[in-house]
Amino acid sequence: MTRAPSRTAVLTVVWAWLLMLLILPTLIVLKIAFSYPADSVPPYAPMLRPGGGLHISTDAFSLILTDPLYAHALLLSLQVAGLSTAICLLAGYPMALGIARSPERWRSLLLLLVMLPFWTGFLMRINAWIGLLQDDGWINTAIIALGLAPLRLLYTDTAMYIGMIYTYLPFMVLPLYARLSQLDARLLDAAADLGAPPWRVFLAVTLPLSLPGVGAGVLLVFIPAAGEYVIPELLGGPQAQLVGRVLWQEFFQNGDWPTASALACTLLLLLLLLPGAIFWAVRVISSPKVASVPSVATEHPPAIQQ
């Protein structure tokens, strides 16, 4: 019984935290999205005015739905985030598996190496990439020294993807590692014992049992990547109009807070649908293999063999 009050206290803190730092700001953004713009500070009109009446505008959402600029920015963001996530998964899975299978004494060091970039500021690291990628940067200097033609790297999609994958790879590796290191090695022995060569052990045992880690990694990479502003701004070309950049322009260049807020809400909605879809997919795939119940063997005549 002594636990109940402390439990309530902890939950109160959690809910207060969520309310103050997540729910309230979101509601404020939502309110701005439904407000009329105004030449004031802040640049939107109050919903309740002294003259009376509720002033709600859906203009901002109409604009987002009609002007292809926004749909394009959202789609491009989802596409860039999707491709970055896919590459992070393909690169991060072998890394995580390698660390999980390496001898115990090496694992901490390898994990430390994965997390090492976090010791330096994010903007510093992106600036370091500018130094590497720019026309007279380290990479081109090396290429020229080899007698080859220099490449245009900075302010291209390539540079943007390099930045995205570089930045988000640890967020893929860590949850995958957490899952893969928990995998019972005896299951792998059992699969091999029952006639599965290594690649089938991977497909039949390792991969399905690591799916929750894949789901977590995909979410941790995809969600922030979809709203990323700094990387496309600093490394990408002007054509890379991702939703983060458009948001920034609406807020700080056009001063159109309602439109910017409506765009932010639309992005949030899209990103809320994604985890739902992923959790559903993981549940469906990792639910028991639907092997038929062979209670009566003759239920399956040879005619239906595949």
């Binding site: 059992a190 091999a192 029952l194 049992l209 990792s286 063997a297 399956h300």
Partner: protein
């Protein structure tokens, strides 16, 4: 068709016959599990060869060996249901779906788990999981089944039933079993032959009664069942206890004779016409239902165990704590052991 499996690891030479239930008995760390893993293909022997049916398995990866293992932890795949677990090896062989279903149904029946096909391992009791693990390792009909402490995770009563069940299955299927255990009762009751392992070496090999009644070393005598072990000296070809008392034995005295072992159940409480007798005081009694064991301290301070069967009930066992008793044993109860 007959086949034989030859296992060779370092100084260890072992041949298991077709359809034999062979038990490797040893304490933990004796190397019995390593030997099993070498046969399964999970560790590579540094030297020596592993042959099955005339085929050299030594460098063959586990997934190619016609040998299956039933793991101590069962290692059931948690993301597959019982039927998918049992059918795993069959799917890996590319067997037809209908054939797999038929075999899985057959295996479920064999281990008496009909109707459990769609359950997940986590929904089963320990005993049921054990039977699924057994069915899974038997489904591909291996030439040889390796069982690593298959009963160690079960309750005592379930263990006894399962022991009998395993022997029945082994006889029925005619598959050679190599079973690893540290439980001497398990080894004695199940095995066609026992190999006693210690420190990576095979100490003795033989039928259960041979190994029990004629252990070839003090180590085997003490590991397999309880034994009274007394130091002896050989004087003029005669065996004497440390106190100088002569002992009559039924076997030829080995030249390095150093120990005398007598099974507690061969000791008789009270005077009899047996060839050997000593006197002592009962210092402790332990009642085990079927038997009563007396701990008797001799004049020289050593203690001997005498186990009396309680076929007539407890009243038949007369000696109480503090009573002076005579222990006697026949010449053929003496096991003379070398150094």
């Amino acid at each position: 068709m007959r086949f034989g499996a030859v296992v060779a690891v370092d100084a260890l030479d072992l041949t298991v016959a077709a359809g034999e239930l062979f038990v490797l008995l040893g304490a933990s760390g004796s190397g019995k599990s390593t030997l099993l893993r070498a046969i399964g293909g999970f560790v590579q022997p540094d030297a020596g060869r592993i042959m099955l049916n005339g085929v050299d398995l030594t460098v063959m990866p586990p997934y190619r060996r016609p040998v299956n293992t039933m793991f101590q932890s069962y290692a059931l795949f948690p993301h597959m249901n019982v039927a998918a677990n049992i059918g795993f090896a069959l799917r890996m062989r590319g067997m037809q779906r209908a054939e797999i279903d038929a075999r899985v149904a057959e295996m479920l029946e064999l281990v008496r788990l009909q109707g459990f096909g769609t359950r997940r391992p986590a929904q089963l009791s320990g005993g049921q999981q054990q039977r699924v693990a057994l069915a899974r390792s038997l489904a591909p009909r291996p030439a040889l089944l390796l069982l690593d402490e298959p009963l160690s995770a079960l309750d005592r009563n379930l263990r006894r039933d399962t022991r009998e069940e395993l022997v029945r299955l082994q006889r029925e299927l005619g598959i050679a079993f190599i079973l690893v255990t540290h439980d001497q009762e398990e080894a004695l009751t199940m095995a066609d032959r026992i190999g006693v392992m210690h420190a990576g070496r095979l100490m003795q090999l033989g039928k259960p009664a041979e190994v029990y009644e004629r252990p070839n070393s003090r180590l085997v005598a003490e590991f397999l069942g309880a034994a009274n072990v007394l130091p002896i000296v050989v004087r003029n070809g005669r065996i004497e206890l440390a106190g100088g008392m002569p002992v009559q034995t039924a076997t030829v005295t080995p030249s390095d004779a150093a120990w005398l072992a007598i099974r507690p159940e061969r000791m008789r409480l009270g005077a009899s016409n047996a060839a050997n007798r000593v006197a002592g005081v009962v210092v402790q009694r332990s009642y085990a239902g079927e038997t009563l064991t007396h701990l008797v301290r001799l004049a020289d301070g050593s203690t001997l165990r005498a186990t009396v069967a309680l076929g007539q009930g407890l009243s038949a066992a007369q000696a109480g704590i503090g009573d002076t008793v005579t222990l006697s044993w026949d010449a053929d109860a003496c096991i003379v052991l070398g150094r």
